[in-house]
Symmetry: C2
Subunit: 465 residues, 2 copies
């Protein structure tokens, strides 16, 4: 088998140490913000039963779920069936009962129902785990990627929406990426559709509208016409989505426009309150009311949120919304929740493109002891022990190769100090400490080395706390 050229499944990636440090910078920033607002961590398994996953993401979504083959002899089952059976999905279900997590929201809903007697409501959880989608891989789209979700479930207070907006604001302020936070409310969309007389076409209209920004007005008109929206409805619809002006102006327009729809008035009222509360949170980033924002997922019933970078053209970096009955499908109806999800991989790409990752050491190692030979090396171990006892990340080069090679290892790994202990130092009980940046060398006692290296001795991390 020698010579096999190893590779990875398409759409998946390895992360080398320098990338891991950058990824942790993003995860830590998000995680610290979640904790700052009282969200608690949970984890769910990578595999879920297909009964949990299927039917939750639409027909397209179901196709993108990675299915796991049942263990044992799956073919004996198939042999008994008719393999030419056109019931493709039914056949698939005979040989696979599990799938990989497609997002964190549905497993969370399953979790809440399953653990409803162990958790305290309102339950605020965060979850940072990978998800898998059998999507066609392309630039910035992977088959394994991380989602970073926070949800609060068991309360319908709009304070929660406001706090989530503040979390978004803190995260993007911390990583120095200016964003637009766009808000809308599903009830307003439902109201608009009621007013124009196309209540049965909610999904068609929201799906078309979601593309308003990208494809433009004519394309949306064409799509809606094709989907059977009447011309008279279209004429009533367009002014709403071409609406310009301040949040107050838009709301004033809608006050009249939605007067005939109870659902619409309710959505407008919620959005007004949300803007009022949010004003108290000193949001730094731009918060907009965007009537064209629809978000694809059917389970949203109230506020919807989407976040885009202002200085760079890339898909949304974060999104979320209010759902009134997510756990209903698993047998626990009437529990309202709201959540957001950060796309850590896309945030990584933005920080990389804008060169915004903080300059910091790539490795956690503070000092490398040079190896002068097998016989001498054991005499260094007591020094190394005492540095490590003082929580100083310390390495010893494992082989007694040329000093130059050992120095080059320290340089390549961005190790700040090198310790040289030759015969002269051993006889004096001293350590020669070399600062790899300045080139400065000092002979110090082991205690002095500890106090020299101790300050600023932090676990390799770019985050400030």
């Amino acid at each position: 088998m020698a010579g096999t050229n190893p590779s990875l499944p398409k759409g998946t990636r390895d992360f080398i140490p320098s990338e891991m440090v950058k990824r942790h910078y993003i995860f830590d920033t998000i995680c610290n913000a979640f904790r700052l607002f009282g969200y608690l961590p949970i984890e769910t398994p990578a595999m879920e039963n297909l009964t949990t996953l299927l039917g939750k993401y639409g027909e397209e979504g179901d196709k993108l779920i990675f299915r796991i083959l049942n263990s044992g002899d799956v073919f004996s089952k198939l042999r008994k069936l008719e393999v030419s059976n056109p019931e493709y999905l039914s056949l698939l279900n005979q040989i696979s009962a599990k799938g990989l997590r497609y997002d964190l929201t549905v497993p969370f809903a399953r979790f809440v129902v399953q653990h409803r007697n162990e958790i305290i409501f309102p339950f605020k959880r965060y979850q940072i785990q990978p998800v898998w989608r059998a999507d066609r891989p392309q630039k910035g789209r992977y088959r394994e990627f991380y989602q970073c979700d926070a949800d609060i479930i068991g309360s319908d207070s709009l304070l929660s929406e406001a706090e989530l907006i503040k979390i978004i604001d803190i995260v993007f302020d911390k990583i120095k990426v200016p964003v637009s936070i766009r808000l809308n409310n599903r009830k307003i969309l439902a109201g608009v559709i009621e007013v124009i007389g196309e209540s049965t076409k909610l999904t068609e209209i929201t799906t078309a509208l979601d593309k308003f920004d990208k494809t433009g007005k004519q394309s949306v008109i064409d799509e809606l016409t094709e989907k059977g929206i009447k011309k008279s409805s279209m004429n009533k619809l367009l002014p709403v989505f071409e609406l310009k002006g301040s949040v107050t102006e838009k709301m004033k327009f809608l006050d009249d426009y939605l007067a005939g729809s109870e659902m619409g008035r309710k959505g407008l009222e919620e959005l007004k309150i949300l803007f009022d509360i949010t004003a108290h949170y000193e949001i730094i980033n731009d918060v907009q009311f965007d009537l064209t924002l629809a978000r694809g997922l059917n389970y949203y019933t109230g506020a919807i949120i989407e976040v885009n970078a202002r200085n760079i053209l890339i898909g949304s970096l974060c999104g979320g919304g209010r759902y009134d009955d997510l756990t209903g499908i698993f047998g626990l109806p009437g529990v309202s929740g709201v959540g957001i999800s950060f796309g850590a991989d896309r945030m990584y790409d933005v920080l990389e493109q804008l060169n915004l990752f903080p300059e910091k050491a790539e490795t956690g190692t503070r000092v490398l002891f040079i190896n002068f030979g097998e016989d001498k090396v054991v005499q260094l171990i007591p020094y190394i022990n005492s540095l490590r006892d003082a929580s100083i990340n310390t390495e010893i080069y494992p082989d007694a190769v040329k000093i130059k090679k050992q120095m080059s290892y320290a340089n390549s790994n961005h190790i700040a100090f090198v310790a040289l202990v030759g015969e002269d130092e051993i006889s004096k009980g001293l350590i020669t400490l070399k600062n790899m940046q300045s080139g400065e060398q000092k002979q110090l006692t082991p205690e002095e080395v500890i106090s020299e290296l101790k300050p600023g001795n932090r676990i390799s991390s770019m985050s400030e706390n």
Copy 2:
């Protein structure tokens, strides 16, 4: 679909917040030890190509790999084949090309070969990620569990083995679980087998010996007889494995016993050096030389290590060893490495059984603001903003429900302080801060609240640093 009783695939688990805190205590302890010794983090994807995974874990291992169904119409492929084909594995390979990670070692070998031009040798990596095995679930054995691995590759120095033993010692000392660290060397085993004249039976003999402790002498004799080991060989073999005494005594015996095997002498020499170096590392736990330790995996070629708890009967908590050619199967021969793997899930079970998890707050939230009503709540937001600006994890109860219910939420979530701001406090610009443990209440300015809550305000974690 309402009423569906949600469940998880067997052998998999959710983790609620209180469990997550305990799990992070273990992961952080291991991760800090790895960093203290200069190991750097990497991650690999959950899915690997089956060409990477198959044939690396023995026939039994191959069967335990979770296979992922290819996307698209896998059945059209099958239809073209003969479904009654007895070539079960060949059929399986027609419909699945990917599998879930079975351990971290093989993906690491693949990683090293694939990234050999990006990484610096000797390469010290650690990796903490879940693995999946289609094993029959039972108490303490899961189908998804975490491995915590550290490996150094590109050096054959025995210093590395000694440092890994020290890492093991530090980790178990930190979590206060006394362990026995058992060492052996595969070359010694090969030497023994050479001496007794059964060189072709290495796998059979090591597999039987691995059970020596569990099943006893007679059972091992029976198994070996069945496998065709000659009686004369058995007579020579048994004294070795029944050998008692100190490390020095055992080595003295082997000096004579292995005199006729070059391989055996080499292994003994390595083990002697390893014990000599290790002596300098001030190991607190018991380190033994155990000739019956074999470890199943075929790729080990030198030192082998296994760690068991001393006060509790449970499988090994950590294991590892030296491999001389792991990357050879992927086309990069002649690179020696050594590594260890901690079983975090089993360590969790041990700490739980021995009641050794530190008593600490379960939640990261330091203070909960009581919600006295929608109109009043916005007046609290500036206070909450300033606490969060000071990195104090702060929550506000989202709904204006009865105070008792809000207090009970704080208690259940182990939130240390509750802030009460009624009309009286608002008019005075003060906050009533209640210590939930002592019951003590004080009226303080917002600045005083910050300085009261700031010290000890650490992200929820049981680890000390």
